[in-house]
């Protein structure tokens, strides 16, 4: 057993906390893009993943992804409930608990990413159940296949997916596309204006994601070393280049550099450098960043042409951005960085891994989504959607637009009966 390295351990513990912060960041990023009547639901879709996935992870997720000894479809069920793992257990130079906690955060954000595609219209209970079933049936097997020594990684060795271009972003993007096709468009899609209601939230969310992403990417080295440092600078520069790429497209096409474009470009760059950043030079990172910014800036418009309502562009940014990074690294990989040189055969392996994960995620998610839709229903009623899912599902509204009228409907709680301003059902 390798000896514990305090520097590595400290770095991974901090990185795990940084990756956790990405999911609340995502809640703001997505929440700001919805309409005012559904922001709370959008944020809750991320927050419920923060609640369900860690429990599932400890109970069976860690075992399925990394805990067992199998090298096939999943790792097995040897470590259910994290049995056998103690503070002394090691994973490389860090405690197994540190590794497990770090990987747990990835599972949370991956399923949360999907939620943006089905904004405003998903039954909350069904979504909560979906997070449990999806990580179990899709994320854990894919994570095992990409990082846990499973079938995919051994069959196409060596594939490059340092921090999750296939396992996280292509995976979530393909699942988002499947779910959109299952549950359908928002009422009024392509008819009503559905402008983002709070762009400062979007900027705040992008900033939190960006910060957390340094833990996500550099932390994926699982050590505080030169590769982590290379990954960190590449993450910074690719993100910067992607913002510039997206904004140039906007200035030429739309005659305005928008804040939503800057935030979106940043995320696209972060997505694309996720699989690739440890295997390219900083110049390679700039190329990947610019490509990601430009390509995703066009990709997000596809939904209008093809007529599917990927509400907050999960497919356009995460699936397409993930493909940009996963494929380009096949050509741009520099031997001095990750020991692999870019080549057509490497591009072929990258494409195989990417499209296998894409196809697996799409098919399983489509079946899972359809089953949930046919049984307990995946979509709220039309009148609930029009009135606003915050009010009809969560019995809350994010903002108070009227400051008079109403009273407490039931005074069943202890204490004085306090009028609730703006409450409509008094």
């Amino acid at each position: 057993m390798e000896e514990l390295n305090a520097g590595d351990t400290a770095f991974i513990l901090i990185s795990a906390a940084m990756v956790l912060l990405m999911t609340p960041g995502l809640a703001f990023f997505y929440g700001g893009m919805t309409r005012a009547k559904s922001v709370l639901n959008m944020m809750m879709m991320s927050f419920i993943a923060l609640a369900t996935v860690p429990v599932v992870w400890v109970l069976w997720g860690y075992s399925m992804a990394f805990g067992g000894s199998s090298t096939g479809f999943i790792a097995g069920f040897d470590a259910l409930g994290m049995s056998g793992v103690t503070p002394e257990s090691m994973s490389g130079s860090i405690p197994e608990f540190a590794f497990s906690a770090f990987q747990m955060m990835f599972a949370i954000i991956t399923v949360a990413l999907i939620s943006g595609a089905i904004a405003d219209r998903a039954k909350f209970g069904t979504w909560a159940l979906f997070t449990v079933l999806w990580v179990t049936l899709v994320y854990f097997p894919v994570a095992h296949n990409v990082w846990g020594g499973g079938w995919l990684a051994t069959t196409f060795e060596p594939i490059i997916d340092f921090a999750g271009g296939t396992a996280v972003h292509i995976n979530a993007g393909a699942a988002a596309l499947a779910l959109v096709l299952v549950i359908g468009k928002r009422i009024g899609f392509q008819r009503d204006p559905m402008r983002p209601h709070n762009l400062p939230f979007v900027m705040l969310g992008a900033a939190l994601l960006w910060f957390g992403w340094f833990g996500f990417n550099a932390g994926s080295e699982l050590a505080a070393d030169g590769v982590a440092a290379a990954m960190l600078i590449n993450t910074a520069v690719a993100t910067a280049a992607a913002i510039l790429g997206w904004l140039v497209v906007e200035v030429v096409r739309d005659k305005a550099a928008t804040s939503l474009g800057a935030a979106s470009g940043a995320i696209a760059g972060l997505v694309a450098i996720t699989p690739s950043g440890a295997n390219v030079s900083p110049i390679g990172a700039i190329i990947i960043g610019v490509a990601a910014g430009v390509i995703t800036a066009f990709a997000v418009s596809l939904k209008y042409r093809l007529g599917y309502d990927d509400s907050l562009d999960v497919v356009g940014i995460h699936m397409v951005g993930g493909l940009v990074g996963s494929l380009l690294v096949g050509l741009l990989a520099a031997e001095a960085f990750g020991g692999i040189s870019g080549s057509v055969s490497q591009l072929g392996r990258q494409a195989a891994a990417s499209f296998i994960v894409l196809g697996y995620s799409f098919v399983v998610t489509y079946i899972l989504g359809t089953l949930l839709d046919k049984t307990i229903g995946f979509r709220i009623k039309e009148e609930e959607e029009v009135a606003g899912i915050d009010m009809t599902t969560h019995a809350e509204t994010a903002y108070e637009f009227f400051t008079s009228g109403g009273s407490l409907a039931k005074s069943g709680h202890a204490g004085a009966s306090v009028p609730v301003e703006g409450k409509v059902n008094a």
Partner: protein, 112 residues
């Protein structure tokens, strides 16, 4: 008595309010409004998708006046809120039957 209603560009509100104050108008009601006239709306772009926004934000300002002040007040409002560009707004005058000051119960011109 007359009710003068002006729908103006929001950034002109402060100018109009202080001009009316110097003229001797001591009260008014201001509300946020949205609408369009010949100006129509404007275009916004989100991730490359263009949205035509028909309703433009405006400020609606209402002043109750004695008949004799009306023409001057209208002129003050028009002069201070004018930019000469499309979308400057409108001012209209309507007759009022009566006005009551809630605190004292005074009626008519006394209540202005």
């Amino acid at each position: 008595m007359k009710l003068v209603t002006a729908v103006i560009k929001p950034f002109k509100l402060d100018d109009v309010r202080s001009a009316l104050e110097s003229f001797g108008v001591h009260g008014m009601t201001v509300s946020e409004a949205s609408g369009y006239g010949r100006q129509k709306g404007h275009t916004e772009v989100y991730r490359g998708a263009e949205y035509t926004v028909d309703l433009v934000p405006k400020v609606r300002l209402e002043v109750l006046l004695d008949d004799t002040d009306v023409d001057d007040v209208v002129e003050v409002i028009v002069k201070t809120s004018q930019t000469g560009r499309i979308g400057d707004g409108k001012v209209w005058v309507a007759p009022i039957d009566t006005v009551v000051r809630v605190r004292t119960g005074e009626r008519g011109v006394e209540a202005l």
